[in-house]
């Protein structure tokens, strides 16, 4: 029997990892992630979870340790945030190139300096070119569910998957979460049979020098795995729905069929956006939402299908690639650029460093998005303090 508990986002991950019967966990403390592994260490200590828990001397070592464990063919987990993920970067590349089915939780937190512990998507998005799949969560339920789904994806593709959710807004906020029954999860997620594993009976060399004769093909095969992931995401997301009653696809579309304006969101602010859009619908405005769940691989075809019908698209990025703009906006522009009947795309950057994305802020953003001249909408900083608008010279 599944049970319903009121738990914070961090503990939703812990429950997911427990249900996934993870065998080796390694991590290093960092706010706002620490509670994830703290609860897991208790589960291990209390023998509720038969995993080995390894607290190491840095995040770099944590990811190295789970790479080592996964090479032996066991199911692993690690979690981190912001600076911790940046410190892991070398191994983030390494684990994807090694085709290891790792799962990691990243609590979206702004990059320093200035020191910040609050939400911002740049930490995870800075890893977008590594080969890791990335899933963005809107609620604590989604965190738990996508943790389970991440293992299915990772192990089907021999590719690592990152489950990403907002600092504090989700990590430390309690919500009711349906915790599935263990036997149901076992049926959904069978024991790991890793394809990239060190076989103790047959010695092999891992991580060898790869000449130009082979390297290129290895990268091509990683791309093929990501191509398969697009199909697989919808399949195993639908299977999840049949088993647990909650469906997951690469995108979630809300009221897009007749929408003149579509807002594109990712993460917890999607919920706030839903509330605002519902109210607008009641007032007769045709506005829809596309929620990005899977960001790597980027679901280009699905995005084209849903967005091409709109007159306008406003992308809300809680991140900034300095010198270019919001990262989701960039990718959406790239996905749509060769369509002849593409919508106008406005790029809004909001809520950096944990500044709240409120109902009022989104309402004003919608008003702006309906009015603004398209040629002035490439990069709009939304919610800046007025007095700082022209500081840098």
């Amino acid at each position: 029997m599944s049970e319903r508990k009121v738990i914070m986002g961090n503990h939703a991950v812990s429950y997911g990892v427990k249900l996934a019967r993870v065998q080796v966990i390694s991590a290093y403390p960092i706010t706002p992630q620490t509670q994830v592994v703290e609860m897991l260490s208790e589960m291990c200590a209390d023998a509720v979870l038969a995993a080995k828990f390894l607290k190491v001397e840095s995040e770099h070592s944590a990811l190295a340790a789970v790479i080592g464990a996964a090479t032996l063919g066991v199911r692993t987990f690690t979690a981190t945030s912001a600076q911790g993920l940046a410190l892991m970067h070398e191994l983030v590349h390494w684990s994807a190139g090694s085709r290891l089915p790792l799962v990691m939780a990243d609590v979206n937190r702004a990059m320093a300096p200035g020191w910040s512990i609050w939400p911002d998507q740049l930490d995870a998005l800075s890893q977008r070119d590594t080969g890791w799949l990335q899933l963005y969560c809107e609620s604590n339920q989604e965190i738990l569910d996508l943790t389970l789904l991440a293992y299915r994806l990772a192990e089907s593709l021999s590719m690592p998957v990152m489950v990403v959710y907002d600092a504090f807004v989700l990590s430390h906020t309690s919500e009711p979460v349906e915790i599935p029954d263990q036997s149901e999860v076992d049926a959904y997620l069978p024991a790991l049979a890793s394809r990239t594993k060190l076989d103790l009976k047959t010695p092999a060399a891992f991580g060898g020098l790869t000449s130009p004769e082979y390297y290129f093909e290895f990268r091509y095969m990683m791309q093929q795995a990501h191509d398969r992931a697009l199909v697989l995401m919808d399949e195993i997301g639908a299977e999840f729905g049949r088993r647990f009653g909650r469906n997951y696809g690469a995108l979630e579309t809300i009221d897009c069929d007749d929408a003149e304006l579509i807002l594109v969101t990712a993460g917890a602010s999607s919920s706030t956006t839903r509330v605002v859009v519902q109210e607008r619908r009641r007032r007769g405005q045709n506005i829809g939402i596309v929620k990005l769940r899977l960001f790597r691989p980027f679901p280009v075809d699905a995005i084209r299908r849903v967005l091409r019908k709109a007159r306008r698209v406003a992308v809300i990025d809680r991140n900034l690639s300095v010198g270019c703009g919001g990262i989701f906006a960039q990718e959406i522009r790239a996905a749509l650029c060769d369509l002849s009947d593409r919508p106008e795309i406005l790029g809004y950057v909001a809520g950096l460093g944990g500044r709240d994305i409120t109902l009022a802020l989104l309402n004003a953003l919608i008003d702006d998005a309906l009015e603004r001249k398209a040629e002035e909408g490439y990069l709009v900083f939304w919610g800046l303090k007025e007095e700082t608008l022209y500081v840098e010279r």
């Binding site: 403390p29 260490s41 209390d46 001397e57």
Partner: protein, 269 residues
């Protein structure tokens, strides 16, 4: 200058928990700087991340609040650029010896004239009381509910072995001695390491049933002994405190660099 003038009063009250030992370390550090009559503008304090690193916010020197574990690496760049500056690097045990352990041993090996203060509360306080590389075997922590199976570093032995030329240990109970040791460490012409046992009643004390701040400080009083004392011979479990290494003769890194440049120039001309 009265030592209180070294504080950035606008950042008070501080965020350390009631009973935390780090405020005592801050007091000792400021008194040491006052005794040395060093001007505010001649001190650069570089910290990493953790409860210890908050110290940087509270002092009115040049302060760099840097990345977790990397304070010594940042500080090395500061010192090399302007060697006349007094570079002081307060760190926690996780900061200095776990994620920053590599920088710690290499700064010691290089013998660059900086003062590393390891505020050892044997836990990661800021993230909620996880065990650190200075938590003892068998200690309890939020992530070691049945006891820690890791072994701890002896900071003094590690610093000595890595080549530090001033190595000392004190406790927050022995505040006067801590002030004196930090004063000597700052004046020392080489890499100086000062470990100060600093109580964390909130996590380490509570998890290990060591009582409140006062009891933890009494434990420091009753379980430490001056280095080389007879008491240590009779009771080897006592923790020695005092100055273990003080060698002003080993060449210092910035001085060596300068000499190297001069030598190279002479050779070139």
């Amino acid at each position: 200058m009265p030592f209180k003038d070294y504080l950035r009063k606008r950042f008070f009250p501080h965020i350390w928990c009631p009973g935390c030992g780090h405020g005592i370390v801050l007091g000792c550090l400021l008194r040491a700087i006052e005794q040395l009559a060093i001007g505010k503008n001649d001190v650069v304090m570089v910290s990493g991340i953790g409860c210890s690193s908050r110290i940087c916010g509270y002092v009115d020197f040049h302060t760099l609040h840097t990345l977790h574990g990397r304070a010594l690496a940042f500080a090395t760049g500061v010192k090399m650029s302007v060697p006349r500056l007094n570079v002081i690097v307060p760190m926690g045990d996780g900061d200095a010896l776990a994620i920053g352990g590599n920088h710690f041993i290499h700064a010691a090996r290089r013998n660059i004239a900086m003062t590393a203060i390891v505020m050892n509360n044997r836990t990661y306080g800021m993230t909620g009381g996880q065990y650190s590389p200075l938590s003892c075997h068998g200690d309890f922590a939020t992530n070691a509910p049945y006891g820690n199976i890791d072994h701890d570093f002896d900071v003094v032995e590690l610093a000595r072995a890595a080549g530090a030329t001033f190595v000392a240990r004190s406790t927050t109970f022995h505040a006067r001695q801590t002030t004196e040791i930090i004063r000597k460490a700052i004046a020392h012409p080489g890499f100086a390491v000062v470990e100060v046992l600093s109580q964390c009643p909130t996590y380490y004390g509570r998890k290990n049933k060591q009582g409140g701040a006062a009891e933890m400080m009494e434990w420091y009083r009753d379980n430490t002994t001056p280095v080389g004392s007879k008491a240590k011979q009779q009771n080897p479990t006592l923790i020695e405190r005092g100055i273990f290494v003080q060698d002003a003769g080993k060449p210092e890194y910035c001085c060596e660099y300068k000499k190297l440049v001069e030598r190279a120039r002479r050779g070139a001309s």
